[in-house]
């Protein structure tokens, strides 16, 4: 397990380095950063001055390592728009996004794993059909429409929940439902498929032939093997929620990192976009790393050769 962990850690480090290089390069792919910084009315001399001031005239690798060194110490540069530190800006928004992401993925797991298991135990039963209905709905409903419907019913008609903002935990209920329900169908279907597949394996038959209680057969012998692909999927879904919850954040006026990303893109605020891409990618890498570790713990074939 230690060897496996170190191997994964090394791999994660390499991916992180690659990602950092790409997100650094973004600044140069889109335009000349000196021109972008100087603004539309700047003269050639101004642009050249900025280029030298910020060191854009140095070789690209030198600039990269310089940037990387600063990024590692938490300095992601200054936002063109806000004129403040990008890292402080991201940190401030990230807490909202994390709160939403964690509660949404928890909601998705709590909803979809039990339903997926129940559907697999009795294929084509009523519960299976309900699960199928719920997952098709979740897949088909556009998040923005579902969010608006929730606002109409829960906030406007019933006056149960606040429509927007992020002041109390009640503000997070509807966004959690919308975002979680968006992620739930895939997890549910994968749980069901995995469970169905595992339930027809020889070792489940062995477990039954040993006289084990159905509960033990199901939750010890079957579920552990069935959730292995679900773990990887959930990690990806969670990473997606952190970066891609722009629609939900916008509708509920939760000013999180997704919303910031959207704002910064429309404002051409490259350092912020760059910082966000780096942070989101690192999140993905960390999540994948933990998902791999969790899978290795679940499946000894991964950790012991």
């Amino acid at each position: 397990m230690l060897y496996y962990t170190l191997k994964r850690l090394g791999l994660a480090g390499l991916v992180a380095l690659t990602v950092s290089f790409i997100s650094f390069g973004l600044l140069y792919i889109s335009s000349d950063p000196a021109i972008a910084m100087a603004g539309e009315t700047a003269s050639d001399a101004d642009i050249e001055a900025i280029r030298q001031l910020y060191g854009f005239d140095r070789p690209i690798l030198v600039q990269y390592f310089d940037w990387l060194q600063r990024a590692m110490s938490g300095d992601l540069g200054k936002s063109y728009y806000f004129r403040t530190d990008v890292s402080a800006l991201i940190a401030e928004r990230l807490s909202t996004t994390m709160t939403l992401g964690v509660s949404a993925i928890t909601f998705a797991i709590v909803l979809s794993v039990p339903l997926g298991v129940a559907a697999a135990i009795r294929p084509n039963s009523l519960i299976d059909r309900i699960a199928l209905f719920l997952s098709v709905m979740g897949q088909a409903l556009p998040s923005f429409w579902f969010a608006l419907m929730l606002i109409v019913f829960l906030s406007v008609s019933l006056r149960l929940l606040p429509t927007s903002g992020s002041d109390t935990w009640q503000h997070f209920i509807m966004p959690t439902i919308v975002l979680g329900y968006y992620a739930a169908p895939a997890i549910m279907r994968l749980t069901r498929t995995g469970m169905l597949e595992v339930l027809s394996t020889d070792y489940i038959r062995t477990a039954r032939a040993k006289g084990l209680r159905p509960r033990v057969v199901l939750f010890k012998h079957a579920l552990r093997n069935a959730v292995i692909p679900v773990v990887s999927l959930t990690a990806v879904q969670f990473g997606f929620m952190l970066g891609g919850s722009i629609v939900v954040e916008t509708i509920f006026a939760l000013h999180g990192a997704g919303f910031l990303a959207w704002e910064s893109i429309t404002r051409n605020d490259l350092p912020t976009v760059q910082g966000l891409i780096l942070v989101f990618s690192l999140f993905y890498i960390v999540l994948t790393f933990f998902a791999d570790l969790l899978n290795a713990w679940l499946d000894p074939r991964i950790r012991i050769n």
Binding site: T201, D202, Y203, R205, T206, A207, R208, A209, K210, G211, L212, R213, P214, V216, K220, H221, R224, N225, L298, D299, P300, R301, I304
Partner: protein, 333 residues
């Protein structure tokens, strides 16, 4: 009759399919005594595996089982609920499967899977169960048993895994073991070892053994009695000696012609084979199921079902309209 471990009367297994009902097992009677090995022989699809699963009440959910009598150790277990059956499985009656590579759960150690079986049926502490599991692994010839308990199935070879399966099945010292092609997936040298092991353990624990196989070589090594199955029915039943020395049913005789006998079968002569194919068992079937492949078939064979009969009361029963004398002469009337 106290020696009778298993008694089955009129077992039928039907599987509903889109094209009709598949009568996979049709009116099978079986009995096994303590210390006795009953081999059920037949080709793929003849219903032998379904028969074994039906005895354990582990049939796939869409298959339906009908059975008149099912007694284990003289006690009827026919009306048992699923909960009561699970008390019997792994405890009084155990099963060994064909695929040792996939029959153990990859996510748990050997020790974990053995201990859970023991603790399910016996009131034992974890340590006591672990000690028993270790001793059972030693009994099936596994070295470094204590260390094996901490290993996962994928760290063991196929032969070792089958030994583990056997040890796991024996933990609660069942009266009856059903082994469904336990050596088919193993290579030949390991096959012989596993068979020998089964035979030794069977006499040591004085169990009844039902061994399902399509390999007549296996049957010759281990069987006390043999039941030959064809298309869901037992077509011939008798002691191993009777079946090998004096097979009666044309199907059994056909099977025997397929085996080369050292010293007897001349080099270069083609081995026997049975022409034709197994009939479809979907829908109703009247008459002898082997008739289409039988050189002795008459019109009457196809007109009504042929019962399994033992005209001389010699325990060798066969399902054919022809007389023993005629069959013994190879059908030359």
């Amino acid at each position: 009759m106290s020696d009778r471990v298993l008694h089955v009367e009129n077992l039928t297994v039907d599987i509903p399919l889109a094209t009709g009902i598949l009568h996979a097992v049709d009116g099978v009677n079986l009995h096994v005594d303590r210390g006795e090995t009953l081999c059920i022989v037949g080709e793929s699809g003849c219903g032998k595996s379904l028969t074994s699963l039906a005895l354990m009440d582990l049939l796939p959910t869409k298959a339906t089982r009908k059975i008149e009598k099912l007694e284990l150790g003289g006690e009827s277990i026919l009306g048992y609920s699923e909960r009561e059956m699970s008390d019997v499985r792994g405890n009084k009656m155990g099963m060994i499967f064909q695929e040792p590579m996939t029959s153990l759960n990859p996510a748990f150690t050997i020790g974990n899977q053995m201990i859970e079986t023991l603790r399910r049926h016996r009131n034992l502490s974890n340590d006591a169960a672990s000690e028993l599991a270790k001793r059972m692994l030693e009994k099936v010839g596994i070295t470094a048993a204590g260390q094996r308990l901490g290993q996962y199935p994928h760290q063991l070879s196929g032969g070792l895994r089958q030994r583990v399966m056997i040890a796991m099945t024996l933990l609660c010292e069942p009266e009856l073991i059903i082994a469904d092609e336990p050596t088919t997936a193993l290579d030949v040298t390991i096959q012989a070892q596993i068979l020998l092991l089964l035979k030794e353990l069977q006499s040591e624990f004085d169990m009844g053994l039902v061994l399902i196989t399509h390999d007549l070589g296996v049957v010759a090594r281990i069987a006390t009695r043999v039941a030959v199955m064809y298309a869901g029915q037992i077509v011939e039943e008798g002691t191993a000696k009777q079946i090998f020395e004096n097979p009666l049913h044309p199907y059994t005789r056909g099977l025997m012609r397929c085996i080369p006998v050292p010293g007897k079968t001349k080099r270069g002569t083609p081995l026997g084979s049975i022409p034709g194919m197994v009939p479809s068992l979907i829908g109703d079937f009247t008459g002898c199921r082997f008739a289409d492949r039988c050189e002795l078939a008459r019109d009457v064979c196809r007109q009504s079902d042929v019962p399994l009969r033992d005209p001389n009361g010699k325990v060798q029963a066969y399902r054919c309209i022809h007389s023993i004398e005629m069959l013994a002469k190879g059908g030359v009337a």
